[in-house]
């Protein structure tokens, strides 16, 4: 029940309202069978393996959800986790033991049963493979018990009232054992669709699974194509070439919202940030330098330069649209303060030189340039280091942590943000990539995990913003919108976490095309 909506800041936001959740969907009458649902994906998943691929709508999450389904689903409207492939989930009173009950008779597409052992095997595999949330899982889940065929018991190290969110994404996608048979991974799950073929750089085709526990899906096929350029995807969508497009570019999202296209909108807070490396010897090791940078950056400038005024500019960790937004203000844009802090740091021997690492796509480059101009305006000296490929960027920033400041996405999503918060800001997290961490923040994160109600959680979140203002682990430019739009004649799409949707009940009005 909490109103999970807010409105964007800034003038340009006036023509677009950022309301996390389903937009403009109507039931459309009686479902029709058949047809191929074609979606222009945002980026191509290399493997449909939840343990190897980030489980999110932009990176193949929709495809994987179709193949594996999810144990639990997040319902954006109710802002609640609801059972899906699992029958139910419940926790003990202090939220340290969670019991998952599976449905009877659910089978993988290879015919083997999806039972407690299968869930345990899949989750252990997930952890073993070092997937994105594996570290958190390792730190939190002490034991997975399988008292019977249909029951899985998770014993946690600490109180964690929102643990169920974990099972809406990666760990909740259960991979069949036969997927790993024969050395080369094959996507085998218990979802409504089965893997048909993947022609890299071209298309990925999924076929309806007749044996899906909830009955064969309406669609015959899901076809995902990867069209490089989101503008091309949008054109293709406009001419009916694809039924659906995953959008992440603010200008396109704004346009789609203005056009009132139906779809599922998710706002990823901290989607567009610049991480600051606080390692010894880096400029960011000095908190004053970090704060000075923060004061020097006007998110609105970034929005104008990089996105031609589209999207939301905000340096709050959760901007106004978010349920996590609190009254605690982020540090303001204040060049004078920035200059003061910088001169203090310089007085202590800082040379004022900062390098900025980012990718080379136009938006990143423009962001980098805006960063440069903003910082140089207060007396920094900025050198840009634009990597040619994403792999180079990851290698430099996340693996070698060889950067001062780096354009990045920390990506705290609306539903169950704790996992990402832990990974990116906790000193034990695996994705902090050199950002400053500390006891205070660790304590706050633990407190957040243990908070039971939304009110409590929001109260902790206010403290987290406070701590963020002191630590300045990253410069915040704004959230990233993620908008999966589909054509008017598509109905029955169901939303879930991480901008993913479930397509088992989806159907195409007017039948297959």
């Amino acid at each position: 029940g909490e109103d999970a909506a807010g409105s964007g800041t800034g003038e340009a936001g006036s023509d677009s309202t950022y309301q996390v959740g389903m937009i403009g969907t109507d039931s459309g009458g009686n479902p029709v069978r058949g047809g191929t649902f074609t979606m222009a994906g945002f980026s191509e998943p290399r493997l449909l393996d939840p343990a190897e691929t980030i489980v999110a709508g932009s990176t193949g999450g929709v495809e994987m959800a179709a193949v594996y389904d999810v144990l639990l689903r997040w319902d954006s409207e109710a802002n609640k986790v609801v059972p899906r492939l699992a029958e139910s989930i419940s926790a003990n009173d202090d939220f340290t033991t969670w019991t998952l009950t599976l449905r009877d008779g659910v089978k993988f597409s290879d015919g083997s049963p999806l039972n407690a052992a299968a869930v345990k095997w899949s989750i252990e595999r997930y952890v073993e493979k070092g997937a994105t949330e594996a570290k958190l899982w390792q730190a939190s889940v002490t034991k997975i018990g399988t008292p019977d065929e249909r029951t899985v018991v998770f014993e946690l190290a600490d109180k964690w009232p929102t643990f169920d969110h974990m099972l809406t994404s990666g760990p909740g996608m259960i991979v069949a054992k036969s997927a790993d048979a024969g050395g080369k991974f094959k996507p085998v799950g218990a979802g409504p669709f089965t893997f048909e073929r993947h022609a890299p750089q071209e298309e990925l085709v999924l076929k309806a699974n007749d044996g899906y526990w909830d009955g064969r899906p309406n669609l015959d096929r899901i076809r995902v194509v990867y069209l490089n350029d989101p503008h091309a995807s949008m054109e293709s969508f406009g001419s009916g070439g694809v039924n659906s497009v995953f959008l992440r570019d603010p200008d396109l999202v704004d346009k789609a919202l203005a056009d009132k296209l139906p779809g599922f909108l998710n706002m990823v807070s901290l989607g567009n940030v610049a991480m600051i490396n606080a390692a010894e010897g880096r400029p960011g090791a000095d908190p004053r330098v970090r704060q000075a940078m923060h004061h020097a950056i006007n998110p609105e400038l970034i929005r104008q330069r990089a996105f031609q005024g589209a999207g939301v500019a905000s340096n709050a960790i959760f901007p106004e649209f978010s349920q996590w937004h609190t009254d605690t203000e982020p540090l303001p844009y204040d060049p004078e303060q920035a200059k003061r802090l910088l001169s203090e740091a310089k007085a202590d021997g800082f040379d004022g030189k900062v390098s900025y690492t980012d990718a080379q796509d136009p938006a990143s480059r423009a962001t980098a340039l805006a960063f440069k101009s903003s910082l140089e305006a207060v007396g920094f000296e900025v050198e840009l280091d634009l990597t040619r490929t994403v792999a180079d960027q990851i290698s430099k920033v996340a693996v070698k942590q060889d950067y001062d400041v780096a354009g990045w996405g920390i990506s705290w999503r609306e539903a169950g943000p704790y996992g990402r918060m832990f990974a990116t800001l906790h000193s034990k997290g695996n994705l902090s990539a050199g950002m400053p961490t500390g006891k205070e923040m660790d304590a706050l994160l633990d407190e957040f995990r243990g908070a039971e109600t939304l009110e409590q959680q929001r109260a902790v979140m206010a403290k987290i913003q406070q701590q963020w203002n002191e630590d300045v682990p990253a410069l915040v430019y704004g959230p990233t919108p993620e908008f999966l739009v589909w054509a008017e004649n598509i109905h029955g799409v169901v939303d879930t976490t991480n901008s993913m949707v479930l397509l088992d009940k989806a159907w195409i009005e007017g039948g297959g095309s």
Binding site: R46, L47, D49, E52, I54, G130, T132, K135, K184, F185, H198, A199, P200, Q201, E202, V225, Y226, L227, N228, D229, A232, S233, E235, S236, S239, G241, R388, T389, V390, A391, D392, I394, S395, A398, V399, K400, A423, N430, L431, A433
Partner: protein, 317 residues
Amino acid sequence: MANAALKRLGELVIVLLIVSAGTLALLSLTPTDPAVTVLGEGHSEQEYAQVREELGLNDPLPVRYLDWLSAAVRGDLGASVVPPYSDVAERIGAALPVSIELAVLGLAMALLVSVPLAMWSAYHAGGRVDRLISAGTFGVLSVPSFLAGLLVIMVFSVRLGWFPRTEWVRLSESVADNLYHAFLPALTIALVEAAMFTRILRNDLITTLREDYILSAKAKGMSPVHIMFSDALRPSSFSLITVLGISLGRLIGSTVIVEYLFALPGMGSLVINAANQGDFTMVQGAVLVIALIYVVTNALIDLSYNYLDPRIRRAHV
């Protein structure tokens, strides 16, 4: 004759060896690390180091090259080193037909336009028509291909809506659909090539038209069109054929921009994506195939000189 063929073959093999070794050396210069592609973010340095070791990236270059070569000569191009670890030969098998079709279609369209245009231009050399055509070709030549592509899309896809912007339909699925979808990208390629071909052919035609045998044919009462096609075209097409061969080879590996704009699964994007991911086996395999196509087309071009000019037949063979 057998000697010459053997020598030629030897040269081809040497070219392929140099190209593949050079590619590996070039790749090893780039900082792109396939281990990062394999693992993604969120892992320890040791884990990356281990993957690098497993991928053999720490072996000395000659060892890596010989390993690769010994497999390649057995026809095994190996598998991609990054997920989804696809078979290199299979991926090339999927991408190559796209590139070949684009290149062939584009070149054919270019020829279809440029030959008559060049003839017209050469016939009126120095006149108004010639200057107009020249201006047009220069104009087209000064448009970078990404801009040409955007313009083509804007006109034919967005404004007129005659052709789809994206999506590739395989030839095996539907020939008509395939051609329908291939038209715009091929047109984009053809634009620039046609301009180039027109220039080249026009210049050579002008040279040929100065020959006495043209005058002689004219004095026999043959019509200008007849003379153009039956007397002037063949001797004038040396440079054109040469460029055609080079273009064909080049287009197969380098239509990245067109492939990008139209989201085509061709060799260009295959190579560049592989390079961007540090997928060296894929790049190696693709470059080898592209180089092979290049050397073979050029050998064919050389053979075609014999047809174009029978005098060479005696001199060279």
